[in-house]
C-alpha cells in the first residue's frame, strides 16, 4: 500500500471545532410534500431555541454527510420524516442511535446512523452524546409540492416540543 504522503491535513482538530454546543439537524427535501416536515419543525423550533447555544441546520443529505454535519457538537437532535406502515401519519417518535441497530438488514452500502457513529469512533472523531432522532410518520412523499398533509401538519407542535425537550430548552 502506498503512503499517504503529507499527513498534516489528515484530520486537524480545528476542522471539527464548533462555535455552538448543540445542533438541530433537519433532514428531508423541503419541496417534496410531507418530506418537508423536518424542515418545518426545525423552523418553528428555531424561534424558541437559544441560538447562541444551538445551531439549526436544514439539509437534504444523508449517509456519510451526517458524520460531517454531526461531528464536533456536544449534543444533537435530528428531525426527519419517517415512512412506516406501523404508525399512522402524524405519529411522533423519539429514538436513540442504538435503536437503529435493530433495523432489519439495512443496506450495507448506504451508511446509516449506526455506521456513521461506528466510523466516527474508529476515526476518533468527536460525536454528540446524547444524540436523538425525532421522527414524524408520513405517507410516501414522492410528489413535488410545498404543502404537507393535514395529519402531518397537525403533528408539528408535538414534534417541536419533543425537540425542545431533548435539547433541554423547553420553557
Amino acid at each position: 500500500m502506498t503512503s499517504l504522503g503529507n499527513e498534516a491535513h489528515l484530520a486537524p482538530k480545528e476542522l471539527w471545532q464548533r462555535d455552538k454546543k448543540g445542533l438541530l439537524l433537519a433532514l428531508g427535501n423541503d419541496i417534496l410534500g410531507d418530506d418537508a416536515v423536518g424542515h418545518l419543525v426545525a423552523r418553528e423550533a428555531a424561534a424558541r431555541l437559544d441560538l447562541n447555544q444551538t445551531e439549526v441546520v436544514e439539509t437534504g443529505e444523508a449517509g456519510l454527510a451526517l458524520l460531517e454535519q454531526l461531528a464536533g457538537y456536544d449534543q444533537a437532535v435530528i428531525v426527519d420524516a419517517f415512512e412506516t406502515s406501523e404508525y399512522t401519519p402524524g405519529t411522533v417518535l423519539v429514538y436513540g442511535v442504538d435503536d437503529f441497530r435493530e433495523i432489519v438488514a439495512p443496506s450495507p452500502h448506504y451508511a446509516g446512523l449506526p455506521e456513521v457513529f461506528d466510523l466516527a469512533r474508529r476515526l476518533h472523531l468527536p460525536m454528540p452524546e446524547p444524540m436523538k432522532v425525532v421522527a414524524i410518520s408520513v405517507l410516501g412523499p414522492f410528489a413535488f409540492g410545498h404543502s404537507v398533509s393535514p395529519d402531518v401538519e397537525a403533528a408539528i407542535p408535538e414534534a417541536v416540543e419533543a425537540v425542545l425537550r431533548v435539547l433541554g430548552q423547553r420553557a
Binding site: 502506498t2 415512512e83 452500502h109
Partner: protein, 488 residues
C-alpha cells in the same frame, strides 16, 4: 408521546416503485427474467411551470440531496442559453472550479463508501463488513481520516464560493454571483494540491487492492458484467473528457463516432421507451431505434457515466489523468471497454482529472478577476443546459414566455440515460450467477454490484431517516409466487 426502543421500517411501503429487484425463475430454478426498478419523483415539471426561469438553479438543486451542484450548474447553463448570453471567462473558471470540486468529493464518496466496499472489502465478504467501516478496517484509519477531511475541505470551499453545498446560489444567467479574492486563491491552491495527492493515492489503492488481485480483474472482465452498447458523454474540442462543457459525443459499440451534437439538439437524438413494469422511462438513441433490452449496433441502448465518458473521449485533458487513462485502456482495452465494473476504475481516473483541473484553474491568472457577469439583454425563448453529473449526462431544457416565466420544462437525469443498460446489467448478472434456485447473500450482492457500478441516484431514498437505501429482492417461481425474499 410514544417512546420506543425498537424500530422497524417496512421497505415494501418505501419501495413502491423504488429500489426493487424481481427475479423470475424457470422450472429448473434458473433465471427467466429479472427486473430492476429505480425511483422516479413525480410532478417536478408541474411544480416548475409558472415560475420564473431564473429560480431554476435554486429549485432544481433541491430535487435531491445527492447531485445539487450538477442540477444547479445544468440549470445555470440552460439560463445562459435561454437569455443568449455567454459568461465572461473568469466566471466560467469559477463555475468549473466549483464543479470539479463537487465531482471529486462525490466520486470519492462512491469509491470509498458506496461502490468501493464491493472490491476493497470483497464481493463475498460478510454483509456486516461490506460497508465503509469494513473499508476503513482494510485500508487503515489514516485513509479514513484523509477521505473525511478532504471531502470536508472541498465542501467547505464549495460552500464559501457557492453558498450551501445542497443549495448553491452561485450561478446566474451570464455569470456568477461571487468571485475569488487573491488570498483565497492561494488558500484553495494548497487544497487543490492536496486533492491531487489524494486522488493519486486513491488510484494507487485501486491498483493495490483491485488490480493486484487476478480474481477481481477476472470479475471485471466477466460476461456477467459486460454489454456491447453505445456510449454518450461530453467532450471538449479535442475530444477529451470535460465535465462542465462541450459537445455531446456518441460512439458505437465498435468505437466509431456515431454522432456529435449540441445540447439544444438533444431531442433529435434521444427518445424514451416505456415499460409497464417500471416508472422510469428508458432512454435510447432514436436514430438507431428501440429493439428491446439488447446490446449491439442495431439496438439504441446507450450508457453514460465514467465508463461511457472514457469510451467516447480520446483521452483526458490533464497529464496525470491521461497517464492513468492510458494504463486503464492498456489493461482492459483495447477500446471500446464494455465492462460495467470498469466504471469503478474510470471513476478513479476521473477523480485525478477533477483534482488536476482544480490546480489548473487556480493557477489561471484570470480566476481572481472581478469580471464576473455578462448582463442578459435578450428576450428569453428556450434554453438547454448540459453537464456531466457524476452519474452521467444531465440535460435541463426550459421554455419560457417573453417575461421568462416557464411554460415547459424537461429534465433527463443521468440515471435515466443509463436505465436501459442498468436493467440489462441486473438481468445478465442474475442469469449468470443464480443457478438451480440457489440465492445466497454473496450471490445477491454480486447481482447488486451490477447496478451499483453505475452509481445510480436513488433520489428519494437518500433522505430516508437512517440514511440508507431500502431494497427488496424477490425471487419468484414461474407463476409469480415468491420463493425467497431479501430485504436490505
Amino acid at each position: 408521546m410514544a417512546e420506543t426502543k425498537r424500530i422497524t421500517i417496512d421497505p415494501i411501503t418505501r419501495l413502491e416503485g423504488h429500489g426493487k429487484v424481481d427475479i423470475y425463475l424457470d422450472d429448473a430454478g434458473d433465471v427467466e427474467r429479472a427486473y430492476f426498478q429505480i425511483p422516479e419523483l413525480r410532478g417536478f415539471e408541474v411544480f416548475s411551470l409558472g415560475r420564473p426561469a431564473e429560480d431554476m438553479p435554486q429549485i432544481t438543486s433541491r430535487i435531491c440531496g445527492v447531485c445539487p451542484t450538477a442540477h444547479h450548474m445544468a440549470a445555470t447553463k440552460a439560463l445562459d442559453q435561454l437569455y443568449r448570453v455567454q459568461p465572461p471567462r473568469p466566471a466560467r473558471l469559477i463555475r468549473e472550479l466549483v464543479y470539479n470540486a463537487f465531482m471529486l468529493e462525490d466520486h470519492a464518496l462512491h469509491v470509498y463508501v458506496l461502490g468501493g466496499p464491493d472490491f476493497i472489502v470483497g464481493p463475498e465478504a460478510p454483509p456486516e463488513l461490506r460497508n465503509v467501516v469494513g473499508v476503513i478496517s482494510k485500508v487503515g484509519v489514516e485513509v479514513g481520516l484523509r477521505v473525511i477531511s478532504t471531502r470536508r475541505r472541498l465542501r467547505e470551499m464549495i460552500s464559501h464560493i457557492a453558498g450551501k453545498v445542497i443549495h448553491p446560489v452561485l450561478g446566474l444567467p451570464g455569470g456568477v454571483a461571487k468571485g475569488l479574492k487573491p488570498e483565497e486563491v492561494a488558500e484553495y491552491r494548497a487544497l487543490a494540491n492536496d486533492a491531487v495527492d489524494f486522488a493519486r493515492f486513491t488510484l494507487q489503492v485501486f491498483k493495490d487492492v483491485v488490480l493486484a488481485n487476478p480474481e477481481y480483474v477476472d470479475l471485471i472482465r466477466s460476461a456477467a458484467y459486460t454489454h456491447r452498447t453505445y456510449y454518450m458523454g461530453l467532450v471538449d474540442d479535442q475530444n477529451r473528457v470535460n465535465f462542465y462543457d462541450g459537445d455531446i459525443r456518441v460512439k458505437t459499440p465498435d468505437g466509431d463516432e456515431y454522432s456529435k451534437f449540441k445540447e439544444r439538439d438533444y431531442l433529435e437524438h434521444i427518445a424514451e421507451h416505456v415499460e409497464p413494469w417500471s416508472y422510469v422511462k428508458f432512454c435510447y438513441l432514436s436514430q438507431v431505434g428501440w429493439q428491446g433490452f439488447l446490446g449491439g449496433g442495431e439496438s439504441g441502448v446507450y450508457s453514460v457515466a465514467p465508463l461511457a465518458r472514457l469510451n467516447v473521449a480520446e483521452g483526458m485533458a490533464t497529464p496525470i489523468a491521461q497517464e492513468a487513462y492510458e494504463e486503464y485502456v492498456a489493461t482492459l482495452g483495447p477500446k471500446m471497454i464494455h465492462h460495467t465494473l470498469a466504471n469503478h476504475w474510470a471513476r478513479v481516473v476521473e477523480m485525478v482529472h477533477a483534482a488536476e483541473r482544480l490546480v489548473e484553474i487556480l493557477n489561471d491568472p484570470e480566476v481572481a478577476s472581478d469580471d464576473l457577469r455578462t448582463m442578459p439583454t435578450e428576450v428569453p425563448t428556450r434554453g438547454v443546459g448540459v453537464v456531466e453529473a457524476p452519474r452521467g449526462t444531465l440535460y435541463h431544457d426550459y421554455t419560457t414566455d417573453e417575461r421568462g416565466i416557464l411554460t415547459k420544462v424537461n429534465l433527463i437525469v443521468a440515471t435515466q440515460n443509463n436505465s436501459a443498460r442498468m436493467a440489462m446489467s441486473v438481468e445478465a448478472a442474475a442469469k449468470a450467477l443464480i443457478k438451480g434456485g440457489e440465492v445466497s447473500d454473496g450471490i445477491l450482492n454480486k447481482v447488486e454490484m451490477a447496478f451499483r457500478a453505475y452509481d445510480p441516484c436513488h433520489a428519494c431514498a437518500t433522505h430516508s431517516l437512517p440514511g440508507q437505501m431500502p431494497l427488496v429482492v424477490r425471487v419468484r417461481k414461474p407463476d409469480g409466487a415468491v420463493v425467497q425474499e431479501f430485504r436490505r
